[in-house]
C-alpha cells in the first residue's frame, strides 16, 4: 500500500483542521455556524474512510505503525470528536468569537491522538502527545472571562507540561538504555534480557507520566478542577478521548517495548488500579456538581480500564478496546445532556436538575441510560464491557481484584442513582420552561442511546472487531 494511502486518515484530518482555521477567518460573522456543520460532516467522512481502511496494515518510515489496533482507536477518537462538535454548535455559538479556531483545535487534537495511537517510535509518540495536550489547554480556557475556565487552563498546562517532562525523562532513559527510539528495537533489547537499573528508573518515570495522562489515582488531582472549569463539550472530549489515547500509547510502550519486563511493573499497575477504582468511586459520592461527579466517575473508569492492563493478555486488551469505545458513547451522552442543560439554565449543579424528566423526557432518559451504562447495569452495553474486563483479570488469577471492582461498581450505582432520583422524583423549579433540544443534538443523543442498547443486547459485532484488533496487536 502506498504511503499516502496508509496516512490518508491523518492527512485528511490535518487538512480539515487547517482548512477550518483558514475558513474561520473568511466566513462572515453571522454565518460561523456553518463551520461547525462542516467540521462534523468532515469528521463523519473521515470516520467512514477509517472504517473502510480498518484492515490496513503497514509501517511508514519505520516509526509509524498502521494496524487494526491503531485504526480502532482512531475510529474511537473520531466518534468522540463528532459528538463533541455536534454538542458544541449551540455552546460555542454563544461564546461569540473564535468559532473556526475552536473546531480546528478539536480536530487537530484528534490528530494528535491519532498520532499517539499509531506511534511506533518514541519521538513520534511524544509529539502526538504534546499536540493533544496543548490543543486541550487552549480549548480548556475557551470560556473567556470565566474565572473557572482560566483556572482550568492554567492547571492543565502546568500539570500537562510537568507530566510530559516526567514522561520525557523516562523516554530519554529508555532510549539511553536501549540505543533506539523505535519500539520494536527496544523490545528486541528487552527480550534479550537487557533490563538495566537505568531502565527500571525510566519505567518508574514513564508510569508516573502515563498515570497523569490517564488520570489514575494518585496522579488524578488535576482532573476534577480541569473538568469542572473547561467548557462542557471540551470536558466531554477530554474525559473520553485523551484517556483512550493515553491507554493506546501505554499499551504500545509497555506491552510491546517493555512486554518482557512485565513482572517488574505489574505490581505498580495493580496498585494504581485499586487506588483509582476505590478513590474515584468513593469521592464521587459527595459531589454536588455534575461535571465533578463525572470527573470522579471517569477516574474510576480509568481504574476499570487498568484492569485490562493488569490482565496482560489478548482478552485484556480486547476488553480495554471494547470498554473504551462504549465509554465514549455513555460519557458523551451524559456530557451532551449537561451541555444542553447548561445552555438552558446556566448551571451544572445536580440539585438544579430537579424535575428534568418533566422538562425534557429525552434529556432525562439519555442521562439515565448513560449513567446506568457507566455503572454497568444490564442490558446496557456497559455491563458487557465491564464483564469482559472482570473476566480478563479473573482469567489471570486476580479474583480478589475483580471482586473489589464489582463492589465498587455497586457503590457507583448509588451515586449515579442519586442524579437519577433528582431528575425523576424532584420537582422542577417553578416558572422554568421545557428545555428545547436542537435537532443535531437530538440525533447525536439518539445515536449514542442506540449504541448503548444495541451493543448491550447484541454485542457480537463490536466484540469481534475489538478482539480481532487486539489479536492483531499481539501477533
Amino acid at each position: 500500500m502506498p504511503v499516502w494511502e496508509l496516512l490518508s486518515v491523518e492527512l485528511l484530518t490535518a487538512f480539515l483542521g487547517l482548512g477550518l482555521l483558514v475558513l474561520g477567518l473568511l466566513v462572515p460573522k453571522g454565518q460561523k455556524r456553518g463551520l461547525g456543520y462542516l467540521a462534523a460532516l468532515g469528521l463523519v467522512g473521515i470516520a467512514a474512510l477509517a472504517f473502510a481502511l480498518r484492515e490496513a496494515q503497514g509501517v511508514v518510515w519505520e516509526g509509524y505503525i498502521i494496524d487494526p489496533f491503531g485504526t480502532y482507536f482512531k475510529l474511537l477518537f473520531l466518534f468522540a470528536a463528532i459528538l463533541t462538535c455536534v454538542s458544541s454548535f449551540e455552546y460555542i455559538g454563544r461564546l461569540g468569537n473564535g468559532e473556526g479556531e475552536y473546531y480546528a483545535l478539536i480536530i487537530l487534537s484528534t490528530l494528535g491522538m491519532m498520532i499517539l495511537a499509531s506511534a511506533g517510535e518514541l519521538i513520534t509518540l511524544y509529539l502526538g502527545l504534546e499536540l493533544m495536550t496543548i490543543s486541550f489547554c487552549i480549548l480548556a480556557t475557551y470560556r473567556r472571562g470565566d474565572m473557572k475556565s482560566a483556572e482550568a487552563g492554567i492547571k492543565y498546562i502546568i500539570l500537562g507540561a510537568l507530566s510530559s517532562a516526567i514522561l520525557l525523562y523516562g523516554l530519554s532513559l529508555l532510549y539511553g538504555s536501549t540505543g533506539s527510539t523505535l519500539i520494536k528495537d527496544i523490545s528486541l533489547v528487552v527480550n534479550s534480557g537487557g533490563v538495566t537499573p537505568l531502565m527500571v528508573v525510566g519505567m518508574i518515570f514513564l508510569l508516573g507520566g502515563f498515570a497523569f495522562k490517564m488520570a489514575a489515582v494518585p496522579f488524578h488531582m488535576w482532573a476534577p478542577d480541569v473538568y469542572e472549569g473547561a467548557p462542557t463539550p471540551v470536558t466531554a472530549f477530554l474525559s473520553v478521548a485523551s484517556k483512550a489515547a493515553a491507554f493506546a500509547a501505554f499499551l504500545r510502550v509497555f506491552f510491546v517495548a517493555l512486554g518482557d519486563s512485565h513482572p517488574l511493573w505489574a505490581e505498580v499497575i495493580v496498585a494504581l488500579t485499586i487506588l483509582s477504582v476505590v478513590v474515584g468511586n468513593l469521592v464521587a459520592i459527595p459531589q454536588k456538581n455534575i461535571k465533578r461527579l463525572l470527573a470522579y466517575s471517569s477516574i474510576s473508569q480509568a481504574g476499570y480500564l487498568l484492569l485490562g492492563i493488569v490482565a496482560f493478555s489478548t482478552l485484556g486488551v480486547g476488553a480495554i478496546l471494547y470498554h473504551s469505545m462504549l465509554y465514549v458513547f455513555a460519557n458523551m451522552g451524559a456530557f451532551m445532556v449537561a451541555t444542553v442543560f447548561y445552555n438552558a439554565d446556566k448551571s451544572d449543579e445536580i440539585q438544579d436538575y430537579a424535575g428534568l424528566a418533566r422538562r425534557s423526557p429525552l434529556l432525562a432518559a439519555v442521562m439515565l441510560f448513560s449513567l446506568l451504562s457507566l455503572a454497568g447495569i444490564p442490558p446496557l452495553a456497559g455491563f458487557v464491557s465491564k464483564f469482559y474486563l472482570f473476566m480478563a483479570v479473573i482469567d489471570q488469577g486476580y479474583i480478589w481484584l475483580a471482586i473489589l471492582a464489582v463492589l465498587m461498581s455497586m457503590v457507583s450505582v448509588y451515586y449515579y442513582l442519586q442524579v437519577v432520583k433528582v431528575m425523576y422524583l424532584g420537582d422542577p423549579p417553578p416558572g422554568r420552561p421545557a428545555i428545547e433540544v436542537p435537532l443535531g443534538v437530538q440525533i447525536a443523543l439518539a445515536c449514542s442511546l442506540a449504541v448503548l442498547f444495541l451493543f448491550g443486547i447484541y454485542p457480537t459485532p463490536l466484540t469481534n472487531y475489538a478482539f480481532s484488533s487486539a489479536a492483531a496487536f499481539f501477533h
Binding site: A14, G17, L18, L21, V60, W61, E62, G63, Y64, G96, N97, G98, E101, A104, L105, L108, L111, G112, I115, E121, I123, T124, Y126, L127, G128, E130, L131, I134, S135, C137, I138, T141, R144, G145, G153, T196, P197, L198, V200, V201, I204
Partner: protein, 169 residues
C-alpha cells in the same frame, strides 16, 4: 582537547548549571530567578559544546536564551504586582515536594552507581547538520510535520488566549 582539560571544563559547567538552577528555585525575587535561568541555559549550551554537539548548542542559545527566557521575563513584567522581593515564594507543599525530589535524586544516583561506565566516546558524523537534515526529512518526517502543526496551534492559541476580551455582552 586533553581529557584533564575536558574534565575541568565539565566540573566548572556542572557547578555553574547546578548553582544557577538552585538559584532559580530558591530565590525569592522572580526577576532574579529569571536571570539565573538564563545563566543555567547558557551553562547547558556549554555542556553541549563539551559533547561536540555544536548545532544543538546553537539551537539552545537561540531558542532558550534568546526566546524562552525573554518570553518568561516578559511574562514576569506583564504580571507584576505588589512587592517584587516577595514575588517567588514557596507553596504549602514545599516540604513534600522536597522529600519527593530528594527521593528521586537518590534513586537516579543509585541507578547510575550500578551502571558500568565503560562506553567509549563515539564520534559524530562528519557533517552533523547534514545528518540532522536527512533525519528530519527522512525517518522523522512524521514528527517533523506534527511539530509544524504544533507550532501553528501554539501561535493561534497564544494569540487567541492573550488578546483582550471585547466587552460586548
Amino acid at each position: 582537547m586533553g581529557s584533564t582539560l575536558t574534565l575541568v571544563a565539565f566540573w566548572i559547567l556542572f557547578v555553574l548549571v547546578v548553582a544557577s538552577a538552585l538559584a532559580v528555585v530558591l530565590l525569592r525575587n522572580i526577576v532574579h530567578s529569571a536571570l539565573y535561568l538564563v545563566l543555567s541555559f547558557v551553562g547547558v549550551a556549554g555542556i553541549y559544546i563539551l559533547l561536540e554537539a555544536e548545532f544543538l548548542a546553537a539551537v539552545q542559545i537561540l531558542v532558550y536564551v534568546g526566546a524562552v527566557s525573554v518570553l518568561l521575563i516578559f511574562g514576569v513584567m506583564l504580571t507584576r504586582r505588589g512587592n517584587i522581593r516577595q514575588s517567588n515564594l514557596f507553596n504549602a507543599f514545599s516540604l513534600a515536594a522536597g522529600v519527593v525530589s530528594l527521593a528521586l535524586c537518590v534513586l537516579i544516583i543509585l541507578a547510575l552507581a550500578r551502571t558500568p561506565a565503560s562506553l567509549p566516546l563515539g564520534s559524530w558524523p562528519v557533517d552533523t547538520v547534514g545528518a540532522l537534515a536527512e533525519a528530519f526529512l527522512g525517518p522523522f518526517v512524521v514528527p517533523f510535520e506534527v511539530a509544524a502543526i504544533l507550532l501553528l496551534v501554539g501561535i493561534v492559541g497564544a494569540i487567541l488566549i492573550a488578546r483582550e476580551v471585547k466587552e460586548d455582552k
